[in-house]
Amino acid sequence: MKKINLYIVLLLLTFGFANAQQTPGKKQTRTIAITGATAHIGNGEVIENSLIIFKEGKLTTVVDATVVKMDLTGMEVINASGKHVYPGFIIPNTTLGLVEIDAVRATDDDSELGSWNPHIRSLIAYNTESKVVESLRPNGVLLAQATPRGGRISGTSSVVQLDAWNWEDAVVKEDDGIHLNWPSSFSRGRWWMGEDPAMKVNKNYEKQVKEIVDFFNATKAYSKGTNQTLNLPFQATEGLFDGSKKLYIHVGNEKGIIDAVNFSKENGVKEMTIVGGSDAYKVADLLKQNNISVLLKRVHSRPGQTDDDYDLPFKRAKLLVDKGVLVALEGSGDMERMNARNLPFYAGTTVAHGLSKEQALQLITLNTAKILGIDAAYGSLEEGKSATLFISEGDALDMRTNILTHAFIDGRLISLESHQTKLWKRYSEKLKTQD
């Protein structure tokens, strides 16, 4: 059948360069030049006809080829004219690599017992062999912040790159931040005890906030003491006060955000980011004044309340960007790991609702890198930064044209194969031979 033939050609095109599946790419040995592509820098700029050169994993040249001519002799040249180059997308606040299959408890490593778990570290449980991890790469998602869940303080996240033999290889920034779940304003009735299951005002809100303040005070007191008996949670929290760790406060509603901002200021937290931030757009000015960034709740979600604008989740990013708040997109919630590969399309949707394509791109590249504190090396195609990037046949924010031909992490050409592409090929072949 004609259709099938065309389809196999396409398949070969896409995967012709691929290494063996699951095997991490080898260290860059030859200098690589990508020519003719439209380069989306990640900082808002675009170079229509670009020349991108990287050596030993670092970008050495990112220029407009119509202006700068260079001798590419001795380099591996990839002609990408008509194609697009992007910095690797970054998915923050994700349980990627911590859970493999939701319904199989044995594969679930994202949430520890207890309420105060700053000492619980995601990095050591991050599974580089996860089938979910490899499924993100063909869509351009190359970095992730592996983040634990649960409790008042869930634990400590780390930033990883998605092509590694083990977590030591994977780590980009170890123990980058502590994740605090801010108390909610509403709590649910316990229907199994005969209570109305509706959401009611959380009467314990103030008490729960005070518990957080108490915990932070205790940590500060602990760090002043000498010859203290080791207290793992306190010890793990100290980094928040010297700026070596960032505090990620997971909070959605307006009052909660204001309280969280005030809390951070009053408690000497050096670096804080709001995660979720459904109502952040309502307090954008406050966030801007205090230089507080937002990892914004999944764009592809339903509005929280019946009366909300149907497109509220789609336009929140625009509302915050317009106010000058540093915003990046996250995707936590139901099926967050397998859906993480849709990160570029979350960004694409914000374009339909007001942002420019390059602004939207920033939400999943440079802005994220800035928030995670890895922007010195990642997040944009700038000379001196890591060659963590990919080439797409077309606009990578649109499903139809997000088709990757090459992807590099730290200059290493990585496999775009996965469990899924393998099955695709196997069964396409089976049906073809039956034809």
């Binding site: 199989v104 109502d279 649109d398 039956q434």
Partner: protein, 996 residues
């Protein structure tokens, strides 16, 4: 004739009124009282419409002997002159649990579900208990009786408020004297039903409202079959049900939506229920009226929300605010529509608030006559007791109220409530009304005193030379005592006053000072004209408030984004659009489409129609509406997992037209969806295919002449792999196959018997399965792994039918060739996987592989969020597998239409098809596209510009309602804390919470 003060009547009445003459008596002589009592010179409400201005009520032996303007009073009569007072029939509450202990929730035991009944000799479902009778649990509750009497009630119909078939109620007179021999007016009065399971049994079925509906239907069918003598075994439940079917049948619906559902069940079996409503009937009064049912209305109108906290208030939904504003108008709306109704105190937190709530309904326009009917003649008639209760005609029970005046006025006092001739004093009517303004002076100080409030709870205001003094008053038996703070406010000292007020308007008294001094004083009532003026002033205020309250207009649905008036069908001409026909013509550039009378009438270039509204679609794309083969929005329940087969239930029974996700789907270009039953069991329930006609009633959403569908399911959910349940068959995929073979074999035998013309027991579940065998109903089967997909096709082959659709079908790509051979379609997710073990091999290339193999492929959502972005999900097939854009678009339009057998009307832009169209701002598969207009049958249900207007209206209305609630709070009215409305996100796995 004997004239005595009424107070003494108490003694007269303590005789047992309806003494049981055949009972032996060993403690004295038999006394029989044949005296009469007459109440004269009263305004008598014999019925709400028959009022005697100056009449006499004559009673004897607990019954009314005569009432009217001209009543002959026999000699042996005690006469009570109640001049200036009014007499009403005592009220009736026909939905009560008076004296019946609330059944207790079964506690302890294992948490694993129970599938079998706990009883024998009764119906197979524990929640069906028509054999129950309130009398079996009845114990007269004197305390509660007193509360009810104080509120004006004389008779209640009480029942055990538990279970689906609840058995019979008992009609009880709230007579404080005598025993059950007089109080029980009818042991079995009314047969009660509800959709809620019994708390006393943990039997799983039914686990949803649609299950409760199905259970009731099957019960009626079985009862009929049993009545004809077909059963070989005894069923006490059915026997009771049949025996009590001539009684009034009362259904505890508790909401408008459930009232309509109950009526639907009743209509099928010629049962007209009297329905306990929810107070929200006004929201769709036409549908409510069409039930032809009488209603029992609660009056528990909500308090205003406490909206002081700005942040918490943000979580309050417009619909909740409106409910507060609109609910008090509910009785008026029913009355205006000639729907007959009775009031109940059910769900009222305190009986003391009953009158206030009632007055609120009147304030909102309910006439007093209707209000009185709803408390007297209507419930009496509904109970079939119109000659005995609810009126003051000869022969009726002497159940009546003596009041100071119009019972629905705030200042009116109920003095006495007589039940079966037994007097209960609510407020002593001989208490002299000393309310008013007084002046007196003690020790050269000039006092002014106002006595006000109810006589039983008098309050006082005292000023000395215009300075206020704290005071507390008590008043009974003609003695007034007052304690007031002394002049020196720094001291905790009191001046005490005491006076007898029995003589005349003014009174003498004495004052006791903190130092022990005693002084006398003389209080003079001020007959001031100024006071009269004030009264006039309040009167004029009253005129204002007696005008009907402003009620926020109802919208359809009655919530945010509802329509005040439903949008109309229009003739529309789209000009210069890129038209995605989904037909041989493909994608037409710069073309026009004309729609008229809800149909597509012309497609071409340079079209014109003088009657058409022209829409410039330059640069835009016009497509047919998106169709979602697998949705769970717009339903009140999704899973009936109480048994391994639930073919008897139907989603059509539980469509929720008030789901905001309908509107959101429209904003995503969706026009038609199949609401599938969940995947809790191998044989699920019947589907509803609906068009998203936002604003229409639930039953009008249903696709006309809907093809019949049923949901089946395979794999982990039906095996109950992912939660602790080890009791229900099947637990393995092996068992699933045998379950199907078992059910289909039985259905085949059933169908053969039915077709043979021999008598058979009608079984809804078997009827539905037989439809499948007869190729009249299609299966959409939730499926994941190839082995089970293959299995079900083989089972279908064995019974000579085809599976219509495999939904999810995530391993369809592994058996696409077999699917083609079987002729089954595949409706899949674009890229979901890894949430369960069985979706480990799910790949986003699935749609492409199946399509390339020749399977009719659709992309579905199973999710209220994804549903509104199905255009994006379709576009993923371009990325994953290189499907052409035209074919990818068909995955969410024409192909699901084909799978649903509705492609003759929808799914493409073709002359003659339904005008279900979407105008997109961009290429419909582009991530950058937005739906700008979504049209169903020529009606624009979503318009992006209108949406903007609605947003500002919602904002404005909420602000107004918040202001009204602030006012209510400032007036000192009670408030309730903020609730946050939250909708469950329903997936296949969604299980309803217990019983609701």
């Amino acid at each position: 004739m004997l004239k005595i003060p009424l107070r003494l009547l108490l003694f007269l009445c303590s005789f047992s009124l309806l003494a049981q003459e055949y009972f032996p008596k060993n403690d004295g002589v038999k006394t029989i009282n044949t005296n009469y009592t007459a109440f004269t010179n009263a305004k008598i409400y014999i019925t709400p419409s028959q009022v005697i201005d100056n009449g006499t009520l004559l009673i004897k032996d607990g019954k009314i002997v005569a009432s009217g303007a001209q009543v002959t009073i026999p000699k042996n009569t005690t006469i009570v002159n109640v001049e200036g007072k009014s007499i009403y029939p005592s009220f009736i509450d026909m939905y009560s649990s008076f004296g019946v202990e609330k059944p207790k929730r079964e506690s302890g035991g294992s948490r694993s579900p129970q599938y079998n009944p706990t009883r024998t000799g009764y119906y197979w479902n524990d929640h069906v208990m028509p054999e129950s009778n309130a009398m079996s649990k009845f114990k007269f509750d004197s305390k509660k009786a007193k509360e009810l009497l104080n509120a004006g009630f004389g008779v209640v119909n009480t029942h055990i408020q538990d279970g689906i078939a609840r058995g019979t109620g008992t009609l009880v007179a709230l007579n404080t004297e005598g025993g059950n021999e007089v109080k029980i007016l009818e042991q079995k009065s009314g047969q009660y039903f509800s959709f809620s399971k019994s708390v006393t049994s943990r039997q799983s079925y039914p686990g949803s409202i649609m299950g409760s509906m199905a259970l009731l239907r099957q019960l009626y069918l079985d009862a009929d079959w049993y009545a004809k003598g077909n059963s070989k075994t005894k069923d006490l439940s059915i026997e009771a049900l049949n025996k009590n079917k001539s009684l009034v049948q009362i259904f505890s619906a508790g909401s408008r939506a459930n009232a309509l559902r109950a009526d639907k069940v009743g209509d099928q079996f010629d049962v007209q229920y009297v329905i306990l409503g929810g107070g929200d009937e006004y929201e769709r009064i036409n549908e409510v009226k069409a039930t032809n049912a009488a209603y029992i209305l609660p009056v528990n109108f909500q308090d205003a929300y406490d909206v002081e906290n700005v942040y918490l208030t943000q979580s309050l939904a417009l619909s909740d605010m409106r409910a507060w504003n609109q609910e008090p108008s509910n009785p008026k709306v029913l009355a205006d529509n000639n729907i007959s109704f009775a009031f109940t105190t059910h769900d009222l937190k305190s009986l003391k608030t009953f009158k206030a709530k009632l007055m609120k309904a009147i304030e909102y326009g309910l006439s007093k006559e209707k209000a009185l009917e709803a408390l007297t003649t209507t419930p009496a008639r509904l109970l079939g007791k119109q000659s005995e209760i609810g009126n003051l005609n000869k022969g009726a029970y002497a159940n009546f109220l003596i009041t100071s005046g119009d019972i629905f006025e705030k200042k009116t006092t109920i003095y006495e409530n007589w039940v079966q001739g037994t007097q209960t004093v609510v407020n002593d009517m001989n208490t002299k009304d000393i309310r008013g303004d007084y002046e007196f002076s003690i020790a050269r100080e000039n006092y002014k005193m106002t006595l006000k409030g109810e006589l039983s709870k008098l309050s006082s205001e005292i000023t000395i030379d215009d300075k206020k003094r704290g005071s507390k008053v008590s008043y009974s038996d003609d003695w007034l005592s007052i304690a007031m703070t002394s002049k020196d406010s720094t001291k905790q000292e009191f001046i005490r006053l005491i006076a007898n007020v029995s003589q005349g308007e003014n009174f003498n008294g004495k004052a006791l000072y903190p130092n022990g001094n005693e002084l006398t004083f003389y209080a003079r009532k001020i007959d001031s004209k100024t006071k009269n003026k004030e009264t006039k002033k309040t009167d004029s205020l009253k005129v204002d408030s007696s005008k009907t309250k402003d009620v926020t207009p109802v919208t359809y649905p009655n919530m945010a984004y509802g329509f005040k008036e439903l949008p109309k069908q229009e003739t529309l001409l789209f000009q210069n659009a890129t038209v995605w026909t989904n037909e041989a013509e493909g994608i037409l550039e710069q073309s026009d489409v004309l729609i008229k009378n809800g149909k597509i009438v012309k497609i071409g270039k340079n079209l014109s129609d003088s009657s058409a509204k022209v829409i410039d679609a330059t640069g835009k794309h016009l497509t047919s509406g998106v169709i979602d083969e697998h949705s769970h929005i717009a339903a009140s329940s999704i899973n009936e997992g109480g048994q391994n087969s639930s073919a008897e239930v139907s989603i059509e029974d539980v469509i929720d037209e008030e789901d905001i996700d309908i509107y959101r789907d429209l904003a995503g270009g969706v026009t038609t969806i199949q609401i599938l039953h969940g995947s809790a069991n191998p044989i699920g329930g019947r589907s509803a295919i609906i068009k998203l006609k936002w604003g229409e009633d639930s039953q009008d959403l249903i696709y006309k002449n809907s093809p019949k569908f049923i949901k089946f399911a395979l794999g982990e959910n039906v095996k109950q792999s992912n939660w602790s349940s080890f009791e229900r068959f099947p637990q393995t995929r092996m068992g699933v196959e045998q379950l199907y073979i078992d059910y289909f074999s039985r259905a085949k035998a059933y169908d053969a018997l039915k077709k043979s013309g021999k008598s058979y027991r009608k079984d809804v579940e078997m009827e539905v399965l037989a439809e499948i065998l007869n190729k009249e109903r299609f299966i959409s089967c939730h499926s994941y792994v190839q082995s089970e997909i293959n299995m079900l096709m083989k089972v279908a082959d064995q019974f000579n039918f085809n599976i219509n659709t495999f939904t999810h079908i995530l391993e369809g790509y592994k058996v696409a060739d077999k699917m083609v051979e079987h002729g089954v379609g595949g409706s899949t997710f674009s890229d979901w996987w890894a949430y369960k073990y069985e979706v480990n091999d799910a790949i986003p290339y699935n749609a492409a592989i199946m399509h390339n193999a020749g399977v009719v492929v659709a992309i579905n959502s199973d999710d209220g969020e994804m549903s509104r972005r199905l255009n994006q999900e379709a576009a993923k097939s371009v990325k994953y597998g290189g499907i052409s854009e035209e074919d990818a678009w068909k995955f969410v339009t024409l192909n699901p239409a084909k799978l649903l057998h509705i492609d003759d009307k929808v799914g493409s832009i073709k002359v003659g098809k339904d005008a279900d169209l979407v105008l997109w701002s961009d290429h419909p598969l582009s991530i950058y596209a937005k739906a700008e207009k979504t049209i169903i049958e020529g009606v624009t249900y979503f318009d992006i510009i209108r949406d903007e207007i609605m947003r500002s209206q919602i904002k404005k209305e909420k602000a107004e309602l918040i202001n009204q609630m602030m006012l209510a709070k400032n007036k000192g009215l009670k408030t309730q804390p903020i609730k946050k409305k939250e909708k469950d996100q329903m997936h296949c796995d969604y299980i309803d919470h217990e019983s609701h």
